[in-house]
């Protein structure tokens, strides 16, 4: 009986310390998009079709949260084959030399229940820079097959020249607006 009580106490203590839940990024309902200015005339939008990663969410302690995302740079898609070929080349994303772009969380600070400042390493074209990005928690719920899901979104701007991508500057703007919209599926 003592052992049972002790075990229960330990489980309760562990549960109190951490409610961290790990979610795998759902590639079907997750998006990594970009927007860049074109000759001061308009904007070009594109996305990376191959998104993966992991989200850890701890409602009790946001410091345990994690927002690690990876995209395959070769999966860039702007709805134009010739432009996609150019974007995959060494002029832009250099997909054969650097097949992935990643964001790896280093720390998380909660602003309120829905908004977080996530500091992490963003790696693109072989260059890693520390960024702090605003991440908005959207919600949790059940998917069509009863699986637990979580959703969130981040919007931030990078300067592509910081990552050695200088082709067509300034006709194609240095500022690139990124949107990462993630749905994660709870892992057992």
């Amino acid at each position: 009986m003592k052992k049972l009580l002790l075990s229960a106490a330990l489980i309760l203590a562990a549960a109190t310390i951490s409610h961290a839940e790990t979610y795998a990024v759902d590639p079907v309902h997750s998006f990594f998009m970009f927007k860049v200015g074109h000759f001061g005339i308009g904007n070009v939008y594109g996305r990376f079709n191959d998104v993966s990663g992991k989200v850890v969410f701890d409602a009790a302690n946001p410091a345990n949260d994690l927002f690690d995302i990876e995209v395959k740079t070769g999966s860039v898609d702007t709805h134009n084959d010739a432009r996609d070929k150019h974007l995959r080349s060494p002029d832009f994303f250099n997909a054969q030399q650097f097949p992935t772009a990643t964001f790896a969380t280093k720390s998380v600070q909660a602003i309120d229940a829905k908004n977080f400042q996530v500091t992490g390493d963003f790696t693109l074209n072989g260059v890693t820079k520390s960024l702090t990005i605003p991440v908005t928690f959207i919600g949790t719920g059940k998917g069509p097959q009863g699986e637990a899901r979580i959703g969130g979104e981040a919007r931030f701007t990078i300067q592509r020249s910081d990552y050695g991508i200088k082709t067509f500057l300034p006709a194609i703007t240095d500022d690139v607006e990124l949107t990462i919209a993630i749905e994660g599926i709870l892992q057992p």
């Binding site: 070929k85 150019h86 080349s89 060494p90 002029d91 074209n125 260059v127 050695g164």
Partner: protein, 251 residues
């Protein structure tokens, strides 16, 4: 001014014009000093042209294309020791240098795509082929004048520029165009209209341009969608006429 036009003027036309005028001035100086001096200036022109095209490269360079300007400078320095070495030593030195230059382009392949064995074999094969081609072109130019080196090399570099552009990389196309224009300008300035027997040799300037173009070409082969058959056709277009010329002269 249109930013694309200003980049082309600064990155392509300005270095070529500079080399044309420098070569024209050096032809009065004559001999090995002019040849080596021009090689040094060709290296500087290629490096600064690359800066105009792609910006200052970081130190150390991160991507393989950022190495190209550095390679131009290193090749420019290398012509001085190469000039005082005996023929066998010079070719061994050049082969070692080419292996090092090609390694800068092969590094990501070693990291992600090749096993160490595959990598070593690929790098060795590329080094032997490129060194062999360089030897062939230089041999042909010694027999029949620098035009026999400059014209096929310039033509292949210009054609390469079109192919690299077609296959997705404007940057590599611009680099190939820069090497073609610089080689052509060096030849125009040094050789055209020079009095008989006074033309300055071009081995040293081409000793800068050739390895730089070799690195551009392997970058295109390894990191763009350029089909292997097209890349091989480009090199064969350079090698076959030179080989026929050399062996016909021997026969």
């Amino acid at each position: 001014m249109n930013p694309l036009l200003s980049t082309a003027l600064l990155g392509l036309a300005a270095p070529a014009l500079f080399i044309l005028l420098t070569a024209f001035g050096l032809r009065w100086w004559g001999g090995a000093r002019a040849e080596l001096g021009l090689a040094g200036w060709v290296a500087v022109a290629l490096f600064l042209g690359g800066v105009a095209l792609a910006g200052w490269p970081p130190l150390p360079p991160v991507t393989t294309t950022q190495w190209i300007g550095m390679i131009a400078l290193l090749a420019g320095v290398s012509v001085f020791p190469a000039a005082v070495l005996p023929p066998v030593g010079r070719w061994l030195f050049r082969a070692a240098l080419l292996a090092a230059f090609l390694w800068t382009a092969a590094r990501p392949k070693f990291a992600a795509a090749w096993t160490p064995g595959q990598g070593a074999l690929s790098l060795a094969a590329a080094t032997v082929l490129v060194t062999g081609l360089w030897w062939l072109l230089e041999r042909r130019s010694r027999m029949a004048g620098p035009f026999r080196f400059v014209f096929p090399l310039g033509a292949v570099m210009a054609l390469g520029a079109l192919l690299f552009f077609q296959e997705g990389s404007l940057l590599l196309a611009q680099w190939a165009g820069l090497t073609a224009l610089t080689a052509g300008a060096a030849w125009l300035g040094l050789a055209v209209g020079a009095p008989e027997g006074s033309a300055v040799p071009m081995e040293a300037p081409l000793g800068v341009v050739f390895p730089v173009y070799a690195v551009i070409a392997v970058n295109a082969l390894w990191y763009t969608d350029l089909p292997v058959s097209w890349a091989l056709a480009l090199w064969a277009g350079l090698a076959l006429p030179a080989a026929i010329g050399v062996f016909r002269a021997k026969g």
